[in-house]
């Protein structure tokens, strides 16, 4: 006899497996993949029973390897009994998988595991659950070996008459129609295959394509569109919502939350931060506090690093040497001046630039890791789910967008957490519109010069504008280019906890690693090139009108005029393409001092420039990441065009309106 243990991750499958098999187990891998496979054999009531621990899954779609392994095992190996191990403390959420298992097999025994904990949370009517489901339901406590005998007994002698979920009639009709078309095919569970075909399941579609049954695929496609038309929603959302309503209904029939004892701190916090009116403002406040913290705390570190490397020129005109000056003089003692200047004021200063803005990035990732590890980001995902759905993403989409404030590179990579390909692409398309730490750094530099008294206001206007544009474009995209609705997904709400220092630093490091690598290579290289352009041709004044960089600026002057963008800024923007931080470096090379920069532009021009920097093309590293994740040159081009279109639009708008009203001129 073969018994398979299925269930969500962390429901105690392995504990149950250990409790049943004791030492008699064998650990290997599923054929061809590195997912662990555990098998054990016991003798119970004189019968030899083999038990297999299946990978933990939340559903049985074709989106992950674990899900495919689980459903194929049940479908092909036809275990005599599938034990659905349910975490009874999270009953409702766990019931979703049950609805899917019930479509796959009739012989299911439900293990209500963690019953010890669940009893504290609600009153569970196990008998009623058995009746409603028509399946054996056995409370177990795997870690205390409780309920194991009952469970095995139910597996051997249980009564299996499952009352399955049935879909609305117009769906069921179509399922049957497809089933009839499969009549003379050698398939194990035709209803399941029919449902999966309607669901547009990639694996099952492949199977039928291999069988050469294009006719069935076409019919399924046709029927799917009919259903989507009837309900005005996409099929995945629909089918999932039917399953949810089953799980939800069942839960309310059998569980009654207890009104005794205390409420956990987690419950109390959730009551407020996930509140339908207060939740969103609280989120904004948390964001604001986080960003304020980052900028303020990073500032002294940045200034200290700047001082150490670059030294400073005092008001008296005297220059205190920094490391770079010292190194320049030392090298000049044994090599030509120009070479020492290139190495030190070109390359080394680029490196120093990288180091001065690392504090902002590190603190940003620090705070994002704290928010994530404490459990708050999960609430944000939950809270934003409804809003995010309006822009075609599920709640978790907000997390990769927020990571974008640190650096778009890890943010784009984090979209892998979104299961659905359309949502991933949409999320990637929106991500570069979130100003990353480097761009925010440039904003801080420019606003500090031009908007001394309203710096925070100007910074926030940019950040809020970017969020507004993301929301608007997300809405438009989800109706057009990335058409579709977000897949429904049960939000996991882990209890709040004080994050561990180690965890925070590991997560912080994971996120900043790629960024730092980019910084060390691209930025130093770009700084070297900028130095050469400013120093050549031989003998000109560094960064002056006759240098290459000066000539390019002169040539470009008419291009930026309608936007109030100066030629120098255009050069800065060009180099910003390699890494946004380089913009600051170029300004230093071209203008020399902050005062000169201040004199070169009106505040209106500066604001127009800020808007341009906010949106124009993401940096090389981000584009490379986007290409890696999508493998599509078209997608990369799309992102670049999107950025430029928005940048041109907003800076033109601001400059025109501003000039017309005569503000900031």
């Amino acid at each position: 006899m073969l018994i398979a243990l299925a269930g969500n991750p962390n429901t105690g499958k392995s504990s149950l497996f250990n409790a049943i098999t004791g030492a008699h187990q064998h650990i290997g891998n599923w054929p061809g993949v590195t997912v662990e496979k555990k098998e054990g054999t016991i003798t119970f009531e004189g019968k030899k029973i083999t038990i297999v621990d299946l990978p933990g899954t939340y559903s049985l779609t074709a989106y992950s390897l674990e899900e495919v392994i689980t459903r194929n095992f049940i479908l092909e190996e036809e275990p005599d009994v599938v034990v659905d191990v349910i975490d009874a403390t999270n009953l409702e959420r766990n019931l979703y998988l049950l609805t899917e298992l019930m479509e796959l097999t009739d012989r299911i025994v439900i293990a209500l595991n963690m019953f010890d904990e669940a009893k504290k949370k609600y009153k569970l009517d196990v008998k009623k659950m058995r009746e409603l489901l028509g399946l054996p339901v056995i409370p177990t406590v795997a870690i205390k070996d409780k309920g194991i005998k009952d469970l095995l007994h139910a597996c051997l002698h249980g009564y299996f008459k499952p009352k399955k979920l049935s879909y609305p009639e117009d769906v069921e009709n179509r399922v049957e129609k497809l089933q009839r078309m499969m009549e003379n095919l050698d398939l194990k569970n035709k209803r399941w295959h029919a449902i999966k075909l309607l669901e547009n399941d990639s694996e099952v579609r492949k199977k039928f394509a291999n069988l050469g049954r294009k006719d069935i695929l076409h019919e399924a496609e046709h029927l799917r569109h009919e259903i989507e038309d009837i309900y005005g929603d996409d099929i995945e959302t629909l089918i999932a919502s039917f399953r949810y309503s089953f799980a939800h209904g069942l839960f309310h029939e059998v569980a009654e939350p207890l009104n005794v004892g205390g409420v956990t701190i987690t419950d109390m916090i959730d009551h407020v931060v996930a509140h339908k009116i207060f939740g969103l403002p609280i989120f904004l406040v948390v964001m604001y506090l986080s960003f304020e913290f980052v900028f303020v705390v990073a500032a002294p570190f940045q200034d200290a690093i700047d001082l150490i490397f670059n030294g400073k020129t005092l008001a008296s005109g005297q220059h205190i040497n920094g490391l770079i000056d010292i190194s320049y003089h030392w090298m000049a003692s044994f090599m030509p001046n120009w070479a020492s200047s290139f190495i030190n004021y070109g390359m080394l200063r680029g490196l120093a630039a990288v180091l001065t803005f690392t504090p902002i990035i590190m603190f940003l990732f620090l705070i994002l890791s704290i928010l994530e590890d404490s459990g708050y980001l999960a609430r944000v995902a939950f809270l934003m789910d409804k809003l995010m759905r309006k822009i075609g993403l599920e709640g978790r989409g907000i997390i990769s967008l927020m990571l974008g404030f640190g650096c778009n590179v890890p943010a784009v990579m984090s979209t892998r957490a979104l299961k659905n390909e359309r949502e991933r692409e949409l999320s990637i398309a929106l991500n570069p519109l979130i100003p990353c730490g480097a761009r925010i750094q440039v904003f801080a530099f420019i606003t500090a010069i031009f908007f001394k008294h309203n710096q925070a206001l100007v910074m926030w206007s940019l950040i809020l504008l970017s969020m507004g544009v993301v929301a608007l474009l997300g809405y438009v995209y989800s109706k057009t280019i990335f058409k579709g609705k977000a897949e429904p997904f049960v939000m996991e709400l882990p209890p709040y906890r004080v994050p561990s220092l180690k965890g925070i630093f590991i997560h912080m490091w994971e996120k900043s690693e790629g960024f730092l690598r980019k910084a060390g290579t691209i930025i130093v290289g770009a700084a070297g090139i900028i130095w050469l352009l400013a120093a050549l041709p031989w003998g000109v004044q560094f960064g002056g009108e006759n240098s290459y960089i000066g000539q390019i600026a002169h040539f470009l002057a008419p291009v930026g005029a309608p936007f109030g963008i100066t030629p120098e800024s255009i050069i800065a923007l060009f180099f910003g393409f390699f890494a946004k931080e380089v913009v600051i470096d170029v300004f230093y090379v071209l203008y020399g001092t902050k005062e000169a920069l201040f004199a070169a532009m009106t505040p209106l021009q500066a604001y127009s420039l800020l808007l341009f920097i906010l949106f124009y093309t993401p940096c090389v590293a981000t584009l490379a990441t986007i290409y890696n994740e999508t493998k599509s040159t078209k997608f990369v081009l799309f992102v670049i065009l999107e950025g430029f279109a928005l940048a041109l639009f907003f800076s033109f708008l601001a400059y025109t309106i501003g000039s017309f009203l005569g503000v900031g001129g």
Partner: protein, 144 residues
């Protein structure tokens, strides 16, 4: 003193503090829109944060007095936010001080003239409002 009275007193105390913070927040926003006052630094997002934190406290006050978790939740999250805002301002003040001396190196600077934002006082005052948290186990889910 009876437990009821103690909780009532600390809630009244926090409500007064919250009302003050609310007004401060409104004036901070007004300040950044051009209506300057002496006691409120102009700060649009800072003002917004104060308003949200104090609204939570005021919103939860009534049910906290009634020993209901519903009230206590809002009351405590509001206080926590108020404390966080105060803490942030303390950190800002310290970081500013540090930054001032770093930028001063080699220069002939006059001493640092600290300017203390009202949020810093609020931080210490808000800590005193936490009392109901410590009697949390006397609270109920619903009105019996």
């Amino acid at each position: 003193m009876k437990l009821q009275t103690k909780v009532l007193l600390s809630v009244i105390y926090s409500s007064i503090l919250a009302s003050f913070s609310l007004i401060l927040g409104i004036f901070e926003i007004a300040g950044s829109l051009g209506l300057h006052t002496n006691f409120a630094p102009p700060d649009i997002m800072g003002g917004f944060s104060l308003i949200i934190a104090s609204s939570l406290i005021l919103y939860g006050a009534k049910n906290t007095v009634k020993f209901l978790y519903d009230g206590l939740s809002f009351y405590l999250v509001g206080l926590a936010l108020l404390i966080a805002i105060g803490l942030l301002n303390i950190i800002i003040a310290l970081a500013d001080l540090l930054d001032y001396y770093i930028l001063c190196i080699g220069e002939n600077c006059s001493g640092y003239s600290a300017h203390i934002r009202p949020e810093i006082y609020i931080f210490f005052l808000a800590l005193l409002g936490l009392y109901p948290f410590f009697v949390r186990w006397h609270f109920r889910r619903k009105v019996p």
